[in-house]
């Protein structure tokens, strides 16, 4: 329970931060722009034309759900990628602020275990990112539904997958913050994690670039526990394209992501336990 109390405290703090409010404002602005810029002409259940920001439409008539797939694919890809970058930028400062001199001493004097403090902060940030993802994803789904009458789950699913992928990225950022109290370094660690996880997602394509032998084996061994960022992104894209997805693979990749996040968080707790403030 004390873990959740820490998480709630972090959310309260986030609400008062100008930086968080600015990011929420920017997301709202994008939603408003899309709401006014997107024009869909739906005729008798079929889509006669699609125009986006004044672009010309085609003379095709096809089921509206099918015609909107490219739009949902684009939205899902953008939300997945932008959600991760948004998370790294918005949350780089939370863990270093928690560990800032003056504050950490006060927190450690409270009847809290160290791991509760760290895990609570981690969960609070994840809740914040999840709320942002749901706001952006559901907002886009609702705007498209208002314009076309079709509710697509794609933006919402992409947002949820993005939040799930971010759980591993943020664990790396927390570890970095525990090691060195720097928001810049925490952000850089998040960026590096994004890059590394993208590489891990394409490991089967990249492995043949290494000559067969110890080099390739080492590459495969090192990348095996890392989350498959591109894999999760592809699930979002495939679901948006109406192509269905391999549920076993999706669950395995989500499970792998959460296990990796838990491992890195455990490493951060182990380091935090040893630190003398």
């Amino acid at each position: 329970m004390r873990v959740f109390a820490v998480a709630l405290d972090l959310l309260r703090e986030a609400r008062s931060r100008k930086w968080t409010l600015a990011l929420v404002g920017a997301t709202s602005l994008v939603l408003v722009l899309v709401a006014f810029g997107l024009e869909l002409d739906v005729v008798d259940g079929a889509l006669a034309a699609t125009r986006f920001f004044g672009g010309s439409g085609s003379g095709e008539i096809r089921p509206v759900e099918v015609a909107l797939r490219p739009l949902f694919e684009a939205v899902a890809s953008t939300i997945f990628g932008a959600g991760l970058v948004f998370g790294v930028l918005a949350c780089a400062d939370f863990a270093p602020a928690l560990l800032a001199p003056g504050r950490i001493e006060q927190l450690l004097s409270l009847p809290l275990r160290r791991w509760e403090l760290l895990v609570g902060t981690y969960l609070g940030v994840l809740a914040l990112v999840l709320a942002g993802a749901l706001y952006g994803g559901a907002g886009l789904s609702l705007i498209i539904m208002a314009k076309s009458g079709v509710f697509g789950w794609a933006p919402l699913l992409a947002a949820l997958l993005s939040a799930a992928a971010f759980s591993a990225v943020y664990a790396v950022m927390v570890l970095s913050a525990v090691a060195v109290r720097s928001a810049a370094l925490s952000g850089a660690a998040g960026g590096a994690a994004l890059l590394l996880f993208t590489v891990a997602g394409s490991r089967s394509d990249l492995a043949p670039l290494f000559s067969a032998g110890p080099g390739r084996t080492l590459f495969l061994a090192l990348t095996s526990p890392l989350p498959r960022l591109t894999g999760l992104g592809q699930h979002a894209f495939r679901l948006a394209a109406g192509r269905g997805t391999d549920l076993t693979l999706l669950l395995a990749q989500l499970g792998g992501t959460f296990l990796f996040a838990a491992a890195v968080l455990a490493a951060a707790v182990a380091l935090f336990e040893r630190k003398d403030y």
């Binding site: 008798d44 089921p63 759900e65 693979l249 296990l259 182990a270």
Partner: protein, 366 residues
């Protein structure tokens, strides 16, 4: 054990578990190619068309001495020339040999063979014609059917010897086989073309056109429309006949707006069909296009709601394309979907093999 070591042990265990989960890899599904619709004659089809111009004009014109040479008439495609076209009759041509080598054809043949391995060999034994090799094209004109191919080994004489048909020579290179029960007449021309019909009118018309005794009618399938593995033209007046009793309203609307309906199907990899509707009344055509678009959307929703996956996949790639003075309805079945539809055949084949395999002998007591 100090608490810190417990955390480090958890790190190792969790990383190992994450590594184990990574063993679940994505299956190497090939990227989905966009479906290519047969909207015009392609280079290979032009070459195929040129290679089929083999029939010389019926009369050789020799110029008189002192007169300029007369340009000889170009060679013609005997199959197209033979089509016994009549006004307001639909014409449909199946490129049987190309279809046989298409993805759809391969799947269909392997499925037919899985059900009965002697499907085609029995037919060959009976008629002398190998349906997988000897048939090139099959055309349907009204109630007549024209087949081109290689029929040198066909057992026509058997029909006569067994008293099932009479034979009559017709023209320079034709024969007419009349079944004694009066059910069908088969015209054979140079063992290259067969004309089948309920009476001999179509066969006579075809052979007269081939040998120059009557002027060939204006082709129902112009040369530049002979593309795809299935193609044809349906005159507007006969369109309504193609619709079932339930869909007569749509059929009547189509017949009223359309002066001609063209069909082209490409089946080499994906099955992609283009139905092009021409008409004189732009307003009526526009209304019809919107009606069809709406029907597609409604059909797809209904198929999806009813869990009809094959129909949903078919309608997924369906669209109506509006052009000036006409519109095209495009339908497609990706090759991957086709393969899924025929997957059961492999199961039936294995089951058939198991059923056909000799039963294991009971072990003898020592």
């Amino acid at each position: 054990m100090p608490r810190r070591r417990l955390w480090l042990a958890a790190v190792v265990l969790l990383l190992l578990a994450a590594g184990l989960l990574s063993l679940v890899e994505a299956s190497s599904e090939p990227p989905r190619r966009p479906v290519s619709f047969p909207t015009h004659m392609r280079e290979a089809e032009w070459k195929r068309h040129e290679a089929r111009q083999t029939l010389p004009p019926p009369l050789a014109v020799t110029p008189r001495p002192g007169r300029p040479a007369i340009e000889p008439a170009p060679k013609r495609d005997p199959f197209v020339l033979a089509l016994p076209v009549r006004p307001d009759e639909p014409v449909m041509v199946f490129e049987a040999n190309a279809l046989r080598h298409s993805r759809l054809g391969e799947l269909f043949i392997s499925c037919a063979l899985a059900e009965n391995p002697r499907t085609f060999s029995d037919f060959q034994k009976e008629t002398g014609v190998d349906p997988l090799k000897d048939i090139d094209r099959v055309g349907f004109v009204g109630r007549a059917m024209v087949v081109s191919g290689y029929f040198d080994r066909a057992r026509w004489e058997r029909l006569v010897e067994e008293g099932r048909a009479t034979v009559e020579a017709y023209g320079e290179a034709g024969r007419l086989y009349r079944q004694l029960d009066g059910s069908e007449v088969v015209g054979v021309w140079k063992n290259q073309l067969l004309v089948l019909g309920p009476d001999d009118a179509a066969a006579r018309q075809a052979m007269d056109q081939l040998e120059g005794r009557s002027a060939p009618p204006e082709s129902a399938v112009p040369e530049d429309l002979a593309y795809g593995e299935v193609y044809g033209v349906i005159p507007g007046a006969t369109v309504q006949r193609l619709f079932s009793a339930q869909d007569q309203a749509l059929g009547a609307k189509l017949a009223a707006a359309a002066s001609r309906v063209e069909l082209h199907v490409d089946a080499m990899q994906d099955v992609a069909a283009v139905v092009r509707v021409d008409g004189k009344d732009d307003q009526a055509l526009g209304d019809l296009a919107r009606t069809l678009g709406g029907a597609l959307a409604a059909g797809r929703l209904s198929a999806k709601a009813g869990g009809d996956q094959p129909l949903t996949e078919l309608l997924d790639a369906a669209r109506v394309v509006n052009e000036q003075g006409r519109f095209s309805l495009e339908l497609a079945l990706p090759a991957a979907t086709l393969e899924r539809w025929f997957e059961d055949c492999a199961g039936r084949k294995e089951a058939g093999q198991r059923a056909g395999a000799p039963a294991p002998r009971p072990e003898r007591a020592p």
